[in-house]
Each structure stands twice: as C-alpha cells, then as structure tokens.
C-alpha cells in the first residue's frame, strides 16, 4: 500500500492545483501567459466579479515576465553546467588518482546537499557583488554591439539579476549532471578507448570521438533532468534575481523574476487578498510550472531509460 503514496500524492497535487486554479484560469484567460503586468488590485477596496468569480477591483495578472525569466535563467544554468560537468567527469574518471577523485566526488556530493537558501545567501551577498564589481563591467565594456552579444552590454547592476541567478542555478544542477556523467564514463569499456589511443589519438580525440558518443543519450537525459530542477528552483533565485514581477531583464545582468520565485515572494500579498483570488492565481502559476517541469522530466526519463539510471548525489543511483 505504501507504494501507492507517491501515486496518490501526485494525483492529489494535480487535482488540488487544477481545482483551486480553475476560477483564476477562467478569469485571467490567455492574458495570463502573454500579458506582462502583475497587479493584485486594491485588496482593501471594492470587490469586482468577473464571470461569477470575485476578485479585488483592478486586479490583472500576466505572468509572461516570470515565464521568460524562468526560461532565460534555466538556459544560462544549462549552458554553464553541461560543459563544466562533462569536463569534471573526465578529470574524475580519467585523469586523477583515485584517492583525490574520491575526495573531489565528496565535494560534489556536498554541493548537492547544501540547502538552496544557503547558496542563495552566498550568491546574494558574496558572489553577486564580487561579479558586479570586478567581472561584469569588464565583460560589458568589451562586448561588440552586434545582435546576441549586445545582450551582454549595458548597465551591470549590483549583482542581483539574471546572470548571477543562472550561475548559482548552474551550481545547483551540476551535481546531478556531473555525477551522472561520471558514472556513465566509468561504464565505457576500456577496449575502444585503448584502441583509439593505439591509433595515436590524443586524450581529447578519444573523449570527443569515443567516450562522449558512447554515453551521449545519458548525458542529454541528465541535462534535461537538471533543466527540470533549474526551472523549479525557488529560494535561491528569489534571493538573487531581484524578484521583480513586471520586468523582463533588459540585458543579461538585469534584475528579473521567475515563476517559482514569484510563488514564494507573493505569498504575503496573496494572504492579504480577502477574496482569495491571488492565491488562486498563484495556484494557476503553479499549474503552469508543474506542467512545464513534468514535460521536461518525462522527456528526460524517456531518454535516460534507454541508457540506464541517473546518479544520485550520494550513495548510488536514483
């Protein structure tokens, strides 16, 4: 019977969210996905009724800035995490003596275990200001003013914002991608690699042409799973992103908000809404988040199922 608990919890989650969000879905309409103003309205004033649903006068919800911020920050996290994880997995399996590799693997396990609120604290107080003072201005001043690269130009802010969020998010998904990739590399048989070396291939060529192709599907699966984690990460991003509601970052350093961060930062405001409409709207936001994350995770599982299992941070597989 206990095995049914996750199943029941999953069904209840979907049911409760959909049930609670339904009035908000009907009132907010498509504007919720494409609109870019998030206004709780006057919670102490008159109550309006739209289609039989009570909500504060003047309330209007558009979540596009949060959705865009989620996609952007997760994309940055993936772009950083994947090459770093693959490189580190190579170093751990091929290059280092076993005792040193064991110690470094423990460090990755610890990184997986550090609570996100602590990474958020570090990102907001230590890493963010450091990057904003010493690194971002140099990058911003040397980027050419052409499409794509111009996104890296402009004011660099004080450390809170899109790029800092992406960097901290990448640290949170690196343990998943790196430990899975390491385990996959360890499963690649020695003979093809030795054959490549006997043909005079360098380590880089062996890696690029033999080891990585051998486990490519597994790496992609772990990456997509990490993407799911980055999309749903809440507290650290809420501390580092600037947690804005109606702003899409003008450049890569700009402050912004994400779906998950909005869910936690609008908590107090939602409790203050006597009609309960903002809580329903947050439920709608959660529905959007859950749907996206479930699609991403399902894709990851399908890819991974062909190649074996993902690595857990500590003690084997998950």
């Amino acid at each position: 019977m206990s095995a049914f608990v996750p199943f029941v919890a999953l069904v209840l989650t979907v049911f409760v969210l959909a049930f609670k969000a339904w009035p908000a879905i009907t009132v907010n309409g498509v504007h919720f996905l494409v609109g870019s103003s998030w206004k709780p309205g006057n919670v102490y004033g008159a109550v309006s009724t739209t289609g039989g649903v009570a909500h504060p006068f003047g309330s209007s919800y558009g979540a596009w800035p949060a959705i865009a911020g989620t996609l952007e920050s997760s994309a940055i996290a993936i772009v950083i995490a994947v090459p770093v994880s693959i490189g580190a997995a190579f170093a751990l399996t091929e290059r280092l003596p076993r005792w040193l590799a064991e110690i470094l693997r423990s460090a990755i396990e610890i990184l997986a275990g550090v609570p996100s609120v602590l990474l958020g604290l570090w990102g907001a107080l230590t890493l963010g200001p450091l990057l904003a003072n010493d690194v971002y201005p140099i990058v911003a001043n040397h980027m050419p003013d052409v499409p794509f690269f111009s996104f890296f130009r402009g004011p660099t802010g004080h450390g809170e914002g899109l790029l800092t969020s992406g960097i901290v998010l990448s640290l949170m998904i690196i343990p998943i991608v790196a430990s899975t990739t390491r385990n996959l590399f360890a499963q690649v048989p020695a003979l093809p690699k030795e054959g490549g070396e006997a043909l005079g291939m360098t380590d880089w060529e062996v890696g690029r042409k033999i080891t990585i192709p051998w486990v490519r599907a597994g790496i992609i699966g772990a990456t997509v799973l990490g993407l799911g984690r980055a999309l749903g990460e809440t507290i650290a991003v809420a501390m580092i992103s600037g947690s804005l509601l109606n702003t899409i970052a003008p450049n890569i350093y700009g402050t912004m908000g994400t779906v998950a961060a909005t869910l936690v930062t609008q908590l107090d405001s939602a409790f203050a809404d006597g009609t309960g409409f903002e809580v329903r709207t947050l439920a709608e936001l959660a529905v959007v988040l859950v749907i996206v994350v479930l699609i991403v995770n399902t894709v990851a599982r399908i890819i991974v199922r062909r190649t074996g299992h993902l690595a857990a941070p500590v003690g084997g597989v998950i």
């Binding site: 206990s2 095995a3 996750p6 199943f7 919890a9 989650t13 409760v16 609670k20 090459p83 770093v84 490189g87 170093a91 751990l92 290059r95 076993r98 423990s106 460090a107 396990e109 610890i110 990184l111 275990g113 550090v114 609570p115 996100s116 609120v117 602590l118 604290l121 570090w122 107080l125 640290l171 790196a178 360098t202 380590d203 880089w204 799973l225 999309l231 749903g232 990460e233 809440t234 507290i235 501390m239 998950a260 869910l263 936690v264 908590l267 809580v279 959660a286 988040l289 859950v290 994350v293 479930l294 991403v296 995770n297 599982r301 857990a312 941070p313 500590v314 003690g315 084997g316 597989v317």
Partner: protein, 302 residues
C-alpha cells in the same frame, strides 16, 4: 606534405601540432571545470563560517527568537521535531514502498514487472518542484482542512517531497542484495515475509539508512514549502500537531538576511551556520555508512 614532420595537412588531417595544443587545452579545461565545481563548495562553507563565527554567541542555542533578534532555540528544536516527524512518516511509507517495488511487485501475465506505473509516479513526483507541493499543502491542509499553519501540514508536505528518494534508495539497496541470500532463505524453508524481514531487508539496511539520512538533509534544508505550511513561531515548539505554527532554521536565513539591522544579519548567519553543520553531519554519516558497507561488499564500486 612533410612526412615525419609536423605537417600532414594536405591529406586532410589536422596538424599534429594543432592536435597537441587542442589536447593541452582540453586537459586544462577538465581540471578547470573541477575547480569551478569544488571552489564554490569551499567558498560557501568558508563564507558562512567567516560571517557567523566572529559574532557567535552560545546563547543563540538557548534563547528564543525575539522579533528579528534574540536566539534560535525555537528554530533548532522546531527543525529537529520536523525531522523526527519526517523520519517517521516518510521513513515508514518510503521504505515500505521501496520494499514493495523491489520485492513484492511480482510479474504480470505478459512477463512484465508490475509496479511500473507506481515506479513512474515515484520518479515523476521527485521532479515536481517543492514549491508546488508546498502550495498544495497550503491549499489542501492549511486552508481546506482548517489545520492552519501546523506541524502536521509541514511534516506531510516534506514527507511527500522526500518519499521518492527513500523509496528509490530502498529499492536500489534491495536489488543489490545477492539472489543467493533469497534462495538460501527459501531453501531453509523460510516464508517470503520471514526471509524478507530477517535476511533481505537486513542486508540492505546500510543503503536504506543512507537514503533516510539524505532525506533528512533535504528536509532540514527546505524553505519554500515550509513558508506555506509551517508558518513561523518564535516560541518553544508546542506538542500540538494542528493550529500551531512552528519555527525552523531556514526561516531566519530567508527572512532576516536582508533586514536593515546587524542583529538580524547575525541571526541569519547563525542560523545558516547551524543549518550547514546539521546538513554536513547528515551527509558525512551517510557517506560513512556507504563506505563501511562497501568495505566488505563482494563487488566494490570503483
């Protein structure tokens, strides 16, 4: 073309010189990547210690929070109480679920293992963002059931978050128990249930214990779902499951870190340090359990 020299480029192969440089760059990159991962770990830990220790007062451990100052006794006791609750609820359902999936699910008529749907549900649940589960806990338990911010709501939501890890960890640990053990138990005439209890589960205990420790580390570090279910309470936790908010360690970090007072900052970093120590202790014990159980295993993991 210079045979035996550096350039054979006219055959369409890259020059040896360039290949050698590419290889050097690659080797440097792998070590740099490792540094990029390991340095933040040390940096985060050292940063929290460096900010918390200069202002450390031992009275933090024994006094309750007052506004944005005072101590953290209420939060520490609250976190421990919630961990105990999670250990009981998630431990029971997670371990039994894992035992079912690994040992009892059996095979259906087509020769496929049953429980595939349940296993998928477990994996899917592990991917649902914890904030969404916290919101569901708020909507269903806190509001709809009229429990208010309460210990039980927090424990149930945290348990739902960690049960997939425990179930999966238990299932994997059980699958690593050699088939010989089960056959031996059966040859001695043990019933399935008896051999499960006395032979199979017992040999899987290190793996199960590890997954429980990881689950505790996850649950003590969660913030977002706690804000929605546990609320916050500055008094010593009360022995009441309903209508009674409770303190926990992630709240002072999340709330006080950007307050405009030094007092609040000190409290945030004290909470961060205590949280860090608790998580590290749990992870180190988990690691030791794994290392100890593998020392005597037949096939050591590389």
């Amino acid at each position: 073309m210079v045979v035996g020299g550096a350039r054979v480029a006219s055959d369409g192969y890259p020059s040896t010189h360039r290949r050698r440089i590419a290889d050097r760059v690659f080797r440097a990159f792998t070590l740099l990547a490792l540094l990029v991962i390991v340095a933040p770990v040390i940096w985060v830990i050292a940063g929290i210690v460096a900010r918390a220790v200069p202002h450390w007062r031992w009275s933090v451990l024994t006094t309750n929070t007052v506004g944005a100052g005072g101590g953290l006794d209420n939060a520490i006791l609250g976190s421990l109480a919630i961990m105990l609750g999670v250990l009981i609820v998630a431990g029971i359902f997670g371990v039994l679920g894992g035992v079912y999936l690994a040992e009892l699910a059996g095979f259906n008529r087509n020769g496929k293992q049953r429980g595939a749907v349940l296993r998928s549900a477990t994996e899917v649940l592990a991917g649902v963002p914890s904030i969404a589960l916290g919101l569901v806990g708020y909507l269903a338990l806190v509001v709809e059931f009229h429990w208010g911010f309460s210990v039980l709501a927090a424990v149930i939501v945290l348990s739902v978050i960690v049960i997939p890890y425990i179930a999966r960890g238990t299932e994997v640990a059980l699958r690593q128990v050699p088939t010989n053990y089960r056959e031996g138990a059966e040859a001695l005439g043990m019933s399935t249930g008896y051999s499960l209890r006395k032979v199979v589960v017992r040999s899987a205990i290190p793996g199960i214990a590890t997954s429980l420790l990881i689950a505790l580390a996850i649950s003590v570090g969660e913030t977002a779902p706690m804000l929605y279910t546990a609320g916050w309470f500055t008094g010593t936790p009360k022995a009441s499951l309903f209508h009674q908010p409770i303190g926990y360690l992630t709240y002072p970090v999340w709330t006080f870190w950007d307050y405009p007072s030094d007092q609040a900052h000190y409290l945030a970093f004290d909470a961060a340090l205590i949280l860090l120590v608790m998580v590290l202790v749990l992870l180190v014990i988990a690691r030791l359990v794994v290392a100890r159980s593998q020392r005597f295993a037949e096939n050591r993991r590389n």
